[in-house]
Each structure stands twice: as structure tokens, then as C-alpha cells.
């Protein structure tokens, strides 16, 4: 089956759908009309732009251009994760960026070289979409596990200090909380692995089927995707919690959360 390429006219008809939503917003005075308009505009512009950029990168057939795109995607993911934390950027960004790049890099290399091994090793048709999924997940895992760790250390400060004055080291104090944060970070992954394909088809699989792929091939790819995302999430959360928890203590074993003097 050949993929159907929607014409610009077809595409403009999809605006009819959002028109209904806009109408609803005005009629019910939901107060989101302006946001909806901006969001629609951004969706159209951002995706068309990404399509164009990717097309030109694919045509360049340059590993360097691809690397540039990957670094840009990774940096945006790290910035976004750090921004969500609401702590001074410089205190969390290096750790989050390190964790996101390392975990995503490991995943990408394994998936490309060991599982998919495309004829051209850096073939952007494979690398970029996979990197997008991996980085997006790493970003969420990094932000969630960091948030959870900070919140735990903040709430449990009295108890942590009581352990410190009895001679416990930061790593002894943090070990159970690192475990809790890790477990919490893995639960959404496990849940989504449980129901994948049962309730809704995942985006990557849907895309492949729409683009004309054999559904069984699409399913095989989706299995790879699910398992690789589980790996990315776990490694990112592990790196973030273990590195950040260390940074929450001074060399004199004093608890100092970001933003504290």
C-alpha cells in the first residue's frame, strides 16, 4: 500500500475540526479561545517547520548535520526538564543534561547498531525519529525523578538531619529515597507496557500503518520502541537521582537543597 499524501486542501479541512472546538469555546465562554488559536497556529507552524528541516537534513546526507540536530534536540530536552523543576537553572541543568545525553546516547547506539542496523549507520530516517522518542522520554523521566527527589528531601529534612547527626553519610541517608524516586519513575512505564495496543495504538505504530507498513512489521518496531523507552526511563532516572542526591549535600554532609544559602 502506498502512503496517501494529504494535499494542502485536505490539510486545511482539518482546521474544520478545530473550528468546532473554537465554536464550543466561544459558546460556552470557556475562556480558552485565544489559547486555542495560538496553540493551533503553533502546531501547524512547528510541525511544518520540523518537516522542512528534517527533509533538508535527510537530503544533506551528512552525519555532522544530523549530529547537530541531535545535540539541539537533546539541549532543548535538558533545558525543558530543568525549567520544569523551578530551582535555579545552573544547579540542575548540568546534571539533567548529562543524564539525558548519556541515557539517550546509550539507547540510541544500542537500538541502531544492535537491533535495527540500517545499511547507512547514521541514516537519519531511522536515527532522528528514534532519537525524538528517546529524548522526549528521557526529558520526562529526568524532570519527574528530580522533582520527586527534591520533594522527598525537603519533606524529610528533619529525619535526614537526625540520621546525619548519628553519623550517616549522604549516600546512606539517600539510598532509600533514591530507590523510591526510581520506583516512582518506572511505574508509568510499566503501566503503559501493560496496556500498549489494547486501549489505543501507540503513535509510532499508528504512523507506520498510515504510511503503508505491514501492521506486523509496525508491531515489531513498536516492541523495540517500548523496551527501549523502558531502558531510557530507568537509566535516566537512575543517573538523575544518584547524581542530584549527591549534589544536595555539602562535603561536610550538610543537606543543602537548591536555592538555599
Amino acid at each position: 500500500m502506498e502512503a496517501i499524501n494529504p494535499s494542502w486542501t485536505d490539510l486545511s479541512r482539518s482546521l474544520g475540526l478545530i473550528g468546532v472546538v473554537l465554536g464550543l469555546s466561544v459558546w460556552q465562554r470557556l475562556g480558552v479561545t485565544q489559547d486555542l488559536l495560538v496553540a493551533t497556529l503553533r502546531t501547524v507552524v512547528q510541525l511544518l517547520l520540523v518537516g522542512l528541516i528534517l527533509k533538508s537534513v535527510f537530503e544533506l546526507e551528512s552525519a555532522w548535520a544530523e549530529l547537530g540536530i541531535l545535540l539541539l534536540m537533546g539541549s532543548i530536552a535538558a533545558l525543558e526538564a530543568a525549567n520544569r523543576l523551578g530551582v535555579p537553572l545552573l544547579q540542575s541543568l548540568p546534571t539533567l543534561a548529562g543524564a539525558i545525553f548519556l541515557a539517550s546516547g546509550l539507547t540510541l547506539v544500542y537500538v541502531m547498531q544492535v537491533i535495527i542496523h540500517p545499511p547507512i549507520w547514521y541514516d537519519p530516517h531511522y536515527v532522528i525519529p528514534v532519537a525524538g522518542m528517546v529524548l522526549g522520554n528521557a526529558m520526562n523521566a529526568a524532570a519527574l525523578s528530580a522533582e520527586r527527589l527534591y520533594a522527598t528531601l525537603q519533606t524529610l529534612r528533619p529525619e535526614i538531619e537526625a540520621r546525619l547527626v548519628l553519623g550517616a553519610s549522604p549516600s546512606q541517608v539517600c539510598a532509600p529515597h533514591v530507590r523510591t524516586a526510581l520506583r516512582a519513575g518506572l511505574i508509568p512505564t510499566i503501566n503503559s507496557m501493560m496496556v500498549v495496543g489494547v486501549v489505543s495504538l501507540p503513535g509510532a505504530m499508528t504512523g507506520q500503518i498510515l504510511a503503508g507498513a505491514d501492521p506486523t512489521v509496525a508491531a515489531k518496531y513498536q516492541i523495540v520502541v517500548m523496551l527501549m523507552l523502558a531502558f531510557t526511563n530507568a537509566v535516566t532516572a537512575l543517573l538523575v537521582t544518584s547524581m542530584l542526591s549527591r549534589r544536595c549535600f555539602t562535603p561536610a554532609w550538610q543537606l543543602r537543597l537548591p536555592g538555599e544559602p
Binding site: 528533619p158 529525619e159 538531619e161 537526625a162 540520621r163 546525619l164 547527626v165 548519628l166 553519623g167 550517616a168 553519610s169 546512606q172 562535603p251 561536610a252 554532609w253 550538610q254 543537606l255 536555592g259 544559602p261
Partner: protein, 232 residues
Amino acid sequence: MLLRLEQVGRQVRQPATGEVHWLLKDLSFGLAAGECLSIVGPSGAGKTTLLRLLVRLEEPTQGQIFLEETPLSAWPIQSLRQRLTLVFQEGRLFAGSVRENLAYGLQLRGWPQAKLELQLSESAVQAGLPPEWLDRPVEQLSGGQRQQVALARALCVEPALLLLDEPTANLDSQKAAQLIEMLAQLSQQRSMAVILTTHQRQWVSQLGGRALLLQAGQLTWQGAAEALPDER
């Protein structure tokens, strides 16, 4: 001297306003091994801050603190916290049984189980804990009982200097008197130095040793516990 403070001060900046103020200022005093010291002052006088500086949960902004004539900052932190420990005002017990709380510090130090059991029973007795409490979950204990567990937990690790923040605050006067009596005895038996903070002057002479008065972060009087002036 076991402990010596030289012109110690601690300044903080209010995050909201950016204003700086001194929690403690120009504090100098010394403490001999095995000696008891009461730090007396109203709430907000800087008593808790002082204890936090001594156990190095916070750093002084000015001056220096010496333990056994070595600056605190030069002590390997683990050795420092094996020489002194702090009992927080709220006790700050860990979820679990009394026994687990008492064993914590000893497990950190890698004590073998048999020796550990012996040590924690002994400390429990010294802190006035009945043996049948050992297997109770700490959630079942009253405020005063929790305070006793916190004391026993600190005694287990055999500090040379025991710091207690307002240990009598949550106790009725009979229990408070017993606790002070116990601390005075323990200090003698173990030749362990004790520093406690209190806003209740009646316990100072009972503990004995020396006392100092803190007001708004500054030392306003120091001398023998019996000579502590009445509240003006």
C-alpha cells in the same frame, strides 16, 4: 578543653527581603570534658542555631569552633559526628520499632549483632526505657516517651559530647526533673560532656555545671549554674 568557641557568629539572609541579620554574634566560651552546660534563653535567642553549628549541620559566618583544639572544619566529618551528637527537640524518631531506632547509629558503625544488642539494652536502661518498649513501634509512644527514645538512641553511639535541644519542653515537671537528674548522672558515669538548651531556668541548677544566657543571639551572662541570675 573539649570544646572552645571563638567569636562565633551566624548570619542569615532573608530570601524574601534580602535583609541580613545575625542569629548569633561574637559568641565565645569553652567546655571541659565531662562538664555540663545549660544554654538559657527565650525562643529565638539562637540556642538551636548554636547546637546546629556545633554538630556542623550549619557553618558559622564568623569565628571558629574547636573540638579537642582542632577546628571543626578540620575534623573528618564522620569522626566529628562520632564524637558528638544532637538530640533534636522533637525527637525525630525514625518509623519502625524502638529497637530499630536505637540500633541505627551502631549499624552505621558496623557493630556486630551481639555487641549491638548489649549496647542498646544498656543505653535503654540508662535513658529509663523499660525493656518491653524495645519492640514497640515508635508511633505508639507519647511525646515524653519519644524524647526518652531519642536520648537512648544518642547514648548508644557513646558521644564525648551530647547536645540536647530543649529536652524538657514536652515533659511535665516531674518527668523533666527525672530527665535532668538522669543526664547529670550519665554525664558523671560516662564522663560525657552535656550541653542542653532550655527556656526554663528551674532545671539549670539541678543539672549543675555551668550556664550561659543568650539573648537575641548574644551572650549576656556566663557562670556557675547555681549563680544564674533570676529572670528580670
